[in-house]
Each structure stands twice: as C-alpha cells, then as structure tokens.
C-alpha cells in the first residue's frame, strides 16, 4: 500500500492536536476534582469550549476552503480530543448509581442543549459581520 506524504502529514497534524487536547482535558480534570455525583465541571467545560471552537473552525473552512494542515490539527486533533463522550456517560452512570437522578437529568439536559448552542455560536462568531472601522 502506498501512502501519500500529504496523508502522513495530515495524520501527524492530528496526532499533535490529539496530544495537546488530551493534556488540556486531563489537566483540567485533575485541577477540578468533583465528588461522586457532583457536577463534573472539568468535563463540562472542555466539552463546551471544544464545541464552540469546532463550530468556529468548521465555518471557517466552509467559507474559505483550502487544504491546509491547520484544519485537521484544529478540528479532529484538538477539538475532537479535547472533548469526550465516554467520560460524560460514565459520569451519568455514577450519578444514577449514586441515586442522584436529578443531577444526572440536569447534567444531560444542560450538556446537550448548551453543546448544541455552542456549535451554533461558534459558527455565528465566524460569520459575524466585520466591524466597520
């Protein structure tokens, strides 16, 4: 199998983005410990920031399409790795397992609604009208 050099460069860009995204997420989780059943601020924050940034970068590529390494680095690499789905599910499981149904329902509802709004806000931010100078 022949692998093009441009493909390898894209994989390398995604790898480096993944390293940075993972360090940021785990670092924030370590800095903001939460008790069992408590609100997981670390996961919540990275998921919202990542959704906002991904909306912004997605809109930027749609409006200015070009094959650059910055795009896979920022989207699949940083945003994809900074955010996490599995940890959110484990946190929901721990909340429900601990009998904190209300917190679990709130965490799920707020994460979904705010995550969706963050994507849209990121897109709107990139497409905002230029401020007149």
């Amino acid at each position: 199998m022949r692998v093009k050099q441009s493909d390898l460069r894209r994989l390398a860009a995604i790898y480096v983005g993944g390293v940075l995204g993972a360090l940021a997420r785990v670092g924030l989780a370590q800095a903001t410990p939460h008790g069992p059943g408590g609100w997981p601020w670390g996961t919540f924050a990275v998921n919202m920031i990542g959704a906002l940034l991904l909306g912004y970068f997605f809109a930027r590529l749609s409006d200015h399409p070009k094959d650059s390494l910055a795009h896979p680095f920022l989207t699949t690499g940083i945003c994809g790795t900074l955010t996490t789905f599995s940890t959110m599910q484990l946190e929901l499981f721990e909340m429900i397992d601990g009998g904190r149904i209300g917190v679990a329902a709130a965490y799920l509802g707020v994460t979904l609604a705010a995550g969706f709004l963050c994507v849209r806000a990121g897109i709107a931010l990139e497409r905002r009208p230029e401020v007149a100078r």
Binding site: L11, I14, Y15, V16, G17, G18, V19, L20, G21, A22, L23, R25, V26, A29, Q30, N47, G50, A51, L53, L54, G55, F58, P72, T76, G77, C79, G80, T81, L82, T83, T84, F85, S86, T87, M88, Q89, L90, L92, F93, L108, T111, L112, G115, F116, C118, V119, R120, I123
Partner: protein, 121 residues
C-alpha cells in the same frame, strides 16, 4: 501525577485521535449516507471499554492514563454535536434525533454492560 504519567496521557491522546480519524474515514469512504455512523461506532465502542475499565476497579494514575488519555481522547463530544447541527441544517431532522437518541440510549447501555463485565472480571 508523575511526569511519565503526563507523557503517557499525551502519547495515548495523539494515538487515539489518529485512530478516531482513520476509523471515521473508513466508515465515510464505504457508506454513502449523511448519518454519522463512524462517530457513533467510535463513541459507543469507547464507552463500552470505559465502563469495563471503571468496573474493573482500575484506580489512581493508571485509571487517569487509560480512561482520560486513551478512551476519553478516542471518543468525542464536539464532533457529535457538529454532526447533529449539520444534519439539522440539511433538513434531516429525524436523523438528528436518531443520532442523539442512539448515542445516549445505547451509550448508557454500553457503560452499564461494560461496568458489569468489568466488575465480573
């Protein structure tokens, strides 16, 4: 956490991101449908493994490295949200609900099953 632990988190994070990209690209090249099946499969598989690891009582630095560095990096929330937005934008509102519903319901079943398997180990 030790310096070696942070290095492991970074290296596993990069590997997981690359694996996510390759798996998603494989799905996309073989399935000509707007539904984001690749990301769904990635998120569900990662969630099952995370349940297993958590149930198996892995703890301390090992848990942070495996759960946070590898599995947390492999699965993604932002792409799931962006894909849902794109489906809504393209007028596939039933696929939006399918994407959200399947991820949440099967994802929760996966964490429960994984946790049960991990505890039984």
């Amino acid at each position: 956490m030790s310096a070696a632990g942070w290095v492991a988190v970074g290296l596993l994070g990069g590997t997981a991101a690359t694996a996510r990209f390759l798996i998603d690209a494989t799905f996309a090249s073989r399935i000509d449908h707007p539904f984001p099946l690749g990301v769904l499969a990635i998120n569900l598989a990662g969630t099952l493994v995370l349940g297993l690891v958590a149930g198996a009582a892995l703890s301390g630095e090992a848990l942070v490295i495996v759960a946070g560095g590898a599995i947390g990096s492999f699965t993604t929330f932002s792409t799931w949200m962006l894909d849902s937005h794109r489906l809504a934008d393209a007028g596939h509102s039933h696929l939006v609900w399918l994407n959200l519903g399947l991820s949440l319901v099967v994802g929760f079943a996966a964490i429960v099953l994984g946790h049960w398997l991990g505890t039984a180990l």
